[in-house]
Amino acid sequence: MRARTKLFAPLAVVAVAALAGPASTALADSGSTTYSATLNQINHSGGSGMLTLTLTGSTARIQENWTGLAASFGGAPYPHVQHIHIGAQGVCPSTAADTNHDGVISTTEGASAYGAIGTTLSVKGDTSPASGTNIKIAPSGPSTNYARTITLDSKTIASIKAGTAVIVVHGLDPSTLSKQAQKEKSDLVPSLPLAATSPALCGSLNAMPVGAPQTGSGSTQSIEHEGLFGLGGGLLVGAAGVAIWARRRTDKATDFVS
C-alpha cells in the first residue's frame, strides 16, 4: 500500500503542477529535502545551536542559530568560521580524537570523523573551501542568527545525500584551554592561535523524518458495547412496529364505523 502510494506520488505531483500552472510551487517543494543538525559543544565551548538546510536541486536554504560561544577576541567580536565538512564518517569526534593529548581536539584531529571542508558557511561572499579560514566573512560574537541561501557544489551535495555531512563551528575562548594548548599555533592558519580555529560546535546533518508518525492503532475508536446498541435498536424497531399495527387496527375500526 505504502509502496504503491510512493510510486504514484510523482505522477500526482505532475498532475497537480499541470493543473496549477507554471506559478505553482508544488513541483519545487516536492523536490526539496530538509535536513537538520543539532550543534552540540565540543572542546567544552559552552555553546549550543541548531541548523536546518533545505536542499532544492543545488540551492540550499540555510537557517542556523547558536549561542554561548566565545564573545570577543582582541577587543573585537570573536569570528567563528563555520563549514559543512564532508567525505568522512559523518560524525563528531570523541575526546579520543585528541591524539596529541593537549586537551583540545584540533580541526585536523577531528577530520577522520567529520572530514574536510566542503562548503564555508560565510555570512556573505564566497562559500567555497578556499574561504574556510576567512574570518572577515565569518559570523562573529557569542551568538548568531544565520539565514542564507547558497548554491552547493556537487561534492557537498553528494555528501549531504550520503549522510556524511557535518556542520562544524570553530573558535574557542583561549582562556579555557590548557597551558600547553594556549601556546600552540593553529593547525589551519599558523599565524593564529590554536583556539581560534579549533571546533566549538559540531553536529551531523540528517534528513528530517519524512511523513507523519503513525502513533495509533484505533482501538479506542471502534464501537464498544455493540450488543447494547443492538438491543436498544431492536426495542425501537419493535416499538415502531407495534405502533404501526395499532394505527392500522384503528384505521380499520374507523372504516367499519363509516
Binding site: M50, L51, P209, G211, S219, L235, A243
Partner: protein, 259 residues
C-alpha cells in the same frame, strides 16, 4: 415497568394498550442506546481555544496556569523566564545576566510529566525507520512510553525538541491518549539524564487532518532561537479505513529550568 407491561399485555387488542406497549418499548430502547453511547471511550479532541500561536516568541504570554496547584518540589533552584527582564538565577540573585533561558549542554530526556492531562511517563530515545520516517515505540515494554526523536535537540537546548507517543494501541489508550485535552498555558516538565528539568508551557495545539498535511519543517524546525518542545500523536480517526489519518501536535516553549 413490569406492571405497566402487564397492563399493556392485558389490554392487548385495545388501541390504547398497543400504544402503551410501543411507548414502553421505545423508552427502554432509547435508554439502552443512551447507556451504550455514554459508555464509549474516545480520546479528547483539541478545543478551538487551544489553537494558539505557533511562534512562541510572538505569542502573547499566557497567564501562568497550573491546574494542579501543588507546590513544585525543589523550587528553590528555579530559573524563571520573564519576557522583559531575563534573570538567570531568580529570585535568589536578581542580578540580570543577558543570557537567554536555555541549556547549552545536551542530555537526553528520561521522563515527561504533564499534570493537566495526568501524563507521567518514562521517555525513550527513538530514531528513523529505514524508510526515513520517524519510528514509533513497538509492542513490548516501551509501547506505551513517550519517545524522544534522537535527531532533535535535547529538551532545554535552543530549537525544537520532539517527543511523540501513541494515542492508543491494540491494548487500549496509550501514553498520549489525553493530549487533545491540553490547553494554552498548561505545563509540561521534562526531566533529563543530567537531572535538569526543563519546564515548558503550551502555546498551540494543532490538529492536521491528514498525514500529508503534517508540517514537517515547522515541527522539526521553525524558530531555532529558543528552546521549544513538540509533542506528537495521532488524530482524526477515519471510520471507513479504520486508521488515524492525521496528527495532533502540541507546541510549547521553555519557561523555567529546575535542578
Amino acid at each position: 415497568m413490569t406492571r405497566r407491561l402487564i397492563r399493556a399485555l392485558s389490554t392487548l387488542g385495545s388501541r390504547r394498550g398497543l400504544y402503551a406497549l410501543a411507548l414502553a418499548a421505545a423508552a427502554v430502547g432509547v435508554a439502552v442506546v443512551v447507556v451504550a453511547v455514554i459508555s464509549q471511550t474516545s480520546p479528547p479532541v483539541p478545543s478551538r481555544s487551544a489553537y494558539g500561536h505557533l511562534n512562541a516568541s510572538t505569542a502573547p504570554t499566557p497567564a501562568v496556569r497550573d491546574r494542579h496547584t501543588s507546590p513544585s518540589p525543589g523550587a528553590s533552584h528555579v530559573t524563571t523566564h520573564h519576557p522583559t527582564v531575563p534573570t538567570h538565577h531568580a529570585p535568589a540573585t536578581p542580578g540580570p545576566t543577558r543570557q537567554p533561558l536555555a541549556l547549552t549542554t545536551a542530555s537526553p530526556p528520561t521522563r515527561i510529566d504533564i499534570p493537566a492531562v495526568d501524563v507521567h511517563s518514562d521517555v525513550i530515545g527513538i530514531g528513523k525507520t529505514p524508510g526515513g520516517g520517524l519510528a514509533v515505540p513497538q509492542p513490548g515494554p516501551n509501547l506505551n512510553k513517550a519517545a524522544w526523536y534522537t535527531g532533535s535537540v535535547t529538551p532545554g537546548q535552543p530549537g525544537p525538541s520532539v517527543i511523540e507517543g501513541h494515542i492508543d494501541s491494540v491494548y487500549g489508550p496509550s501514553v498520549f491518549y489525553r493530549l487533545g485535552a491540553l490547553a494554552i498555558g498548561d505545563r509540561i516538565s521534562v526531566t533529563r539524564a543530567d537531572g535538569r528539568v526543563a519546564v515548558f508551557t503550551v502555546n498551540a495545539v494543532r490538529t492536521y487532518p491528514t498525514h500529508d498535511a503534517f508540517p514537517t519543517s515547522i515541527v522539526y524546525g521553525g524558530d531555532l532561537s529558543q528552546p521549544t518542545l513538540r509533542l506528537i500523536t495521532c488524530a482524526n480517526f477515519d471510520e471507513a479505513i479504520r486508521h488515524y489519518t492525521g496528527n495532533e501536535v502540541v507546541y510549547a516553549h521553555l519557561i523555567a529550568l529546575k535542578r
